[in-house]
């Protein structure tokens, strides 16, 4: 018989199309919790598995970009299956709050675990980890004494020596939003213009790429999140060599402090498994989970009583910018406009 790929292909595909709706269905499970997570699966799945082992509660997960998940939550409305919404930055948590897709949670455990400034006053969202965005410099080419503040990087000595990623990235938007909140829009705009003038190259790549560029001599300083450097230091091969040439400088220690952001979560407004969602939140702020974040992901624990990883402790103690985090969300659009005007790509 002649082999007929066409018939074969159409036949199987049609059979599959019929059986398709069965794929991806989870068994009806009463004891479960549904998660919309802007944290990637591999950064959260191991913890969720621990949670299931300890409590017997099954965790169903959809990951995606925070903006899109938030949009999905909003449009699904009161029928949304989501119980918990996890993001990797504070601005989106605030936007979720403003969009009325979160509900207030009153938990003594969460109140005890999370410092006040890292959670919403009305319990609509809770921080899970923190990350700082300091100045990273090349230890051979830059004298840390020459560094002082974010603002100082806009001065003439730094012309052509600064690397920072695109303005499309939310961490940069939040950095500028924080400046708007504390120093005012004018100062923030001046800063954006100054940084663009001192850039060694048009923004490209992610935070790791900025770190690599510093090591390779494309630029001398970069602004990037701490966990990227921490992860590179704990990797093998070239990235580790790169990271070992980099020093961390904590800017603005004499005034507002170094910019920090959080990853966090809030219980969905129409959660059907509200209690399970709260249990999961409490679990994520437990010492074990916090240690896991610190060690595996190189993020700062949200709890004061859980130590940061050895790598992060090596970066030194620092004063954080204590601005109320919800204000990052308020100033996000304005920050982006400022960067547009500054031609910050």
């Amino acid at each position: 018989m002649r082999f007929r790929p066409f018939a074969w292909l159409v036949g199987t595909a049609a059979a599959i199309a019929v059986s398709m709706p069965l794929v991806g269905c989870s068994p009806a499970d009463q004891d479960e919790v549904n998660l919309y997570s802007a944290r990637q699966e591999n950064l959260i799945r191991p913890l969720l598995e621990d949670f299931t082992d300890q409590t017997g509660i099954r965790v169903n997960l959809v990951t995606g970009a925070a903006d899109n998940l938030l949009q999905r939550l909003r449009h699904e409305g009161r029928n949304s299956p989501a119980d918990l919404f996890i993001t990797a930055d504070a601005a989106r948590l605030h936007q979720a709050r403003e969009a009325d897709v979160l509900q207030s949670v009153d938990s003594d455990v969460l109140r005890a675990n999370i410092p006040e400034r890292y959670r919403d006053p009305e319990g609509l969202w809770f921080g899970l980890t923190t990350r700082a965005r300091p100045i990273l410099y090349h230890t051979d080419r830059v004298d840390p004494d020459a560094l002082s503040t974010y603002e100082a990087l806009t001065e003439t000595p730094w012309q052509g020596r600064v690397c920072i990623r695109s303005s499309s990235n939310v961490y940069n938007q939040s950095l500028i939003a924080a400046m708007i909140a504390t120093e005012g829009a004018e100062a923030a705009e001046e800063w954006a213009n100054g940084i663009v003038a001192n850039m060694a190259r048009p923004p490209q790549g992610g935070d790791r790429d900025q770190i690599r560029a510093v090591a390779d001599g494309v630029c001398d300083v970069a602004i990037a999140n701490t966990y990227y450097l921490g992860l590179m230091l704990n990797s093998e091969g070239r990235d580790r060599e790169v990271a070992e040439q980099i020093g961390v400088f904590w800017p603005n220690q004499d005034d507002r402090g170094t910019h920090v952001n959080i990853s966090g979560a809030g219980v969905a407004a129409h959660a059907r498994n509200r209690d399970n969602a709260i249990r999961l939140l409490e679990f994520l702020t437990s010492p074990d989970a916090q240690e896991w974040y610190a060690e595996v992901n190189q993020e700062y624990p949200i709890r004061d009583d859980v130590p940061a990883s050895t790598t992060l402790r090596g970066f030194g103690e620092f004063q954080t910018d204590d601005i109320e985090l919800y204000r990052l969300g308020d100033h996000n659009a304005e920050a982006l406009r400022i960067m547009d005007r500054a031609r910050w790509r």
Binding site: V10, G24, L43, N60, D67, P81, Q173, D209, R212, A333
Partner: protein, 587 residues
């Protein structure tokens, strides 16, 4: 569907019987086109919300850059895919040179490479921190800025990346066209004194034009919709602008208006092409085929052909795939588990189902358009096929909004009327996902199917009908068998596109439903290239299955090849034949 009537009836009676199906077809096409256009219409709905001040801001700051970069990308990628795709298609279709049999399918391989993956991979190799420049510095002792090296993360780099993965569209469609061309026209051109190049330039190329343009249009639409590559390279285009405006500036209306400008580009492209084609038709008037005698290339010509075919495969597939394979071997923990097998399974079936749906819909639309060339049908089909140029995420949101609205409306109704809640019926299901794929990739199947259908002369329809077939029977019994190669091409293209599809999958999928593209992107987006490599490599490998199937069938689909044993063609082939493997089957 009924059995074809074998009895003769009076012509007038038949003419009466045909009329109802025509109305059925036009109703069907209306419904299908409207449904598929729904997500785009939903997005367009935002256009009428005044965006005012944000739009001012865009115009004063970044809009000019979006336009310039998008146009530059279009022009660069357009020229690139034509310069690579058409010549190599011609070489492997009508010439004989070492390696041709391998190249005829190997040239399709880059199709399985997602653009963002190849961009990440090449950046890893070629940017300042990569091994290539590191070696240069080691050998010469120079530092940053002291020597010239092309900057990979630039608009030029983005063009090259997109050309490398998109040229197969042009190659695939033009090769199919070259193979389906009646050899008679080529033979006539030869008897009239045209050399190999003259025959190509003056006969084969103009005849293959609809197919080449179809391939080009697909490549350009995908260029416009690309997000991953341009975002990573820091090139501001409409796509990145739409994202920033929607989420960063929080203004869906202005974002929709940007998307509208984007679609205007597509409209202009399509209209220009239709206009330049004017009244020309491209079906073949002869049903006589014979196996194509290949030009035997020798010496430097053979070498040039070999190198010309090798380079796109090497750069677009072999090198990046090798790099991915190396990384995959370094990270066994990522793929040696049951979860990864599940990923492959999900992805494969999803893509297969979406391919069948998209091609089925394309057939309905294209055939309805052929049956009655009314202006309305034309417009409906055009609009339904525009989803390809729209960034996947915009389509996804266009699907999400009406589906959720429908679900919630139904739920409210059921609650208030019967006191029971239906919840979300469509949102967050595989159905929503498949619908989004159909909207997004209809253009791929539609372009291909239309190009194939356009080559069948209308007299075939007339003949079939005069023998008592209904339109549907004509389609299934006459057109489909002739178009087998075309249909397979369309199936493959959609299949591979769905394999690579990311944004819609990400946002519309059900709980715990992952695909290879989602996995690859999540890790690559976090700059964990090595960890992402196994998923990327699996996309490539799963994509290979239909590529090989297709290659076998396209070779066979050339009418001359199939019918050679029955052929009454009096003229024997002039030169010894070199037939591709798999073409010598006996019926």
């Amino acid at each position: 569907m009924t059995e074809p009537t074998s009895t003769l009836t009076a012509p007038t009676a038949r003419a009466d019987r045909w009329r109802p199906p025509f109305r059925v077809w036009s109703a069907v096409v209306f419904l299908v086109a409207l449904t598929l256009a729904l997500p785009i219409l939903v997005i367009f709905g935002h256009v009428f919300v005044p965006a005012g001040e944000v739009w001012e801001h865009l115009r004063e700051t970044v809009l000019a850059e979006y336009v310039t970069n998008s146009l530059l990308l279009l022009i660069g990628v357009g020229i690139g895919v034509l310069l690579i795709g058409v010549p190599v298609a011609w070489l492997v279709s009508v010439c004989e040179f070492p390696g041709r049999r391998i190249f005829q399918w190997a040239l399709m391989l880059p199709l399985a490479m997602p653009a963002y993956i190849i961009a990440y991979t090449y950046t890893g190799m070629l940017d300042f921190s990569g091994p290539v420049q590191g070696l240069i510095r080691e050998l010469t002792g120079l530092g940053y800025g002291e020597y010239w090296f092309p900057e990979i993360r630039s608009i030029g780099g983005a063009m090259v990346m997109l050309i490398l993965v998109l040229y197969p569209y042009v190659y695939l469609l033009s090769r199919t066209a070259f193979l389906e061309q009646s050899v008679c026209v080529l033979e006539v051109s030869r008897t009239l004194g045209a050399g190999p190049f003259g025959g190509f330039r003056r006969v084969a190329l103009p005849l293959a034009r609809p197919a080449i343009i179809a391939g080009l249009t697909l490549a350009l639409m995908e260029t416009l919709a690309d997000y991953g590559t341009v975002a990573y390279f820091g090139v501001s285009t409409f796509t990145t602008g739409i994202f920033r405006t929607w989420y960063g500036l929080g203004d869906p209306a202005a974002a929709a208006q940007l998307a509208t400008v984007l679609l205007t580009f597509v409209f202009v492209l399509i209209v220009l092409e239709r206009w330049s084609r004017a009244k020309a038709r491209f079906h073949h008037t002869s049903r006589r085929y014979s196996t194509l005698p290949r030009y035997q290339l020798r010496g430097w010509k053979a070498t040039a052909a070999f190198v010309g075919c090798l380079l796109p495969v090497l750069l677009g597939f072999l090198l990046p795939a090798l790099q991915l394979a190396l990384w995959t071997l370094q990270t066994p923990e990522q793929w040696m588990n049951a979860r990864f097998a599940r990923l492959v399974f999900n992805t494969f079936w999803l893509a297969a189902a979406a391919a069948v749906i998209a091609v089925g819909l394309a057939l309905i639309l294209a055939y309805a358009k052929r049956l009655e060339g009314g202006r309305f049908t034309h417009v409906a089909v055009r609009v339904a096929g525009m989803g390809y140029a729209v960034p996947g995420i915009v389509i996804a949101i266009g699907v999400m909004i009406p589906f959720a609205a429908f679900d919630n409306a139904l739920d409210s109704f059921m609650r208030s009327t019967f006191g029971l809640s239906t919840g979300l019926l469509l949102s967050g299901t595989v159905f929503a996902l498949l619908f989004a794929y159909a909207v997004r990739f209809l253009a791929v199947s539609l372009q291909t199917v239309e190009a194939g259908l356009g080559k069948i002369q209308p007299s075939m329809d007339d003949a079939a009908r005069s023998l008592g077939m209904r339109p549907l029977q004509t389609l299934t019994r006459v057109h489909l068998p002739i178009m087998r190669g075309t249909l397979l091409t369309a199936l493959l293209l959609v299949f591979v596109d769905v394999l690579k599809e990311l944004p819609a999958t990400l946002i519309l999928r059900p709980f715990d439903f992952n695909t290879l593209a989602v996995r690859a992107f999540e890790l690559a987006g976090d700059e964990r290239l090595a960890e992402s490599s196994s998923a990327a490599l699996a996309i490539v490998l799963v994509g290979l299955v239909p590529v090989i199937l297709l290659s076998l069938t396209i070779g066979r689909s050339r009418p001359g090849h199939q019918d050679q044993h029955r052929s009454t063609d009096p003229e024997p082939p002039a030169k010894p034949l070199a037939m591709p493997a798999g073409t010598t089957n006996t019926p």
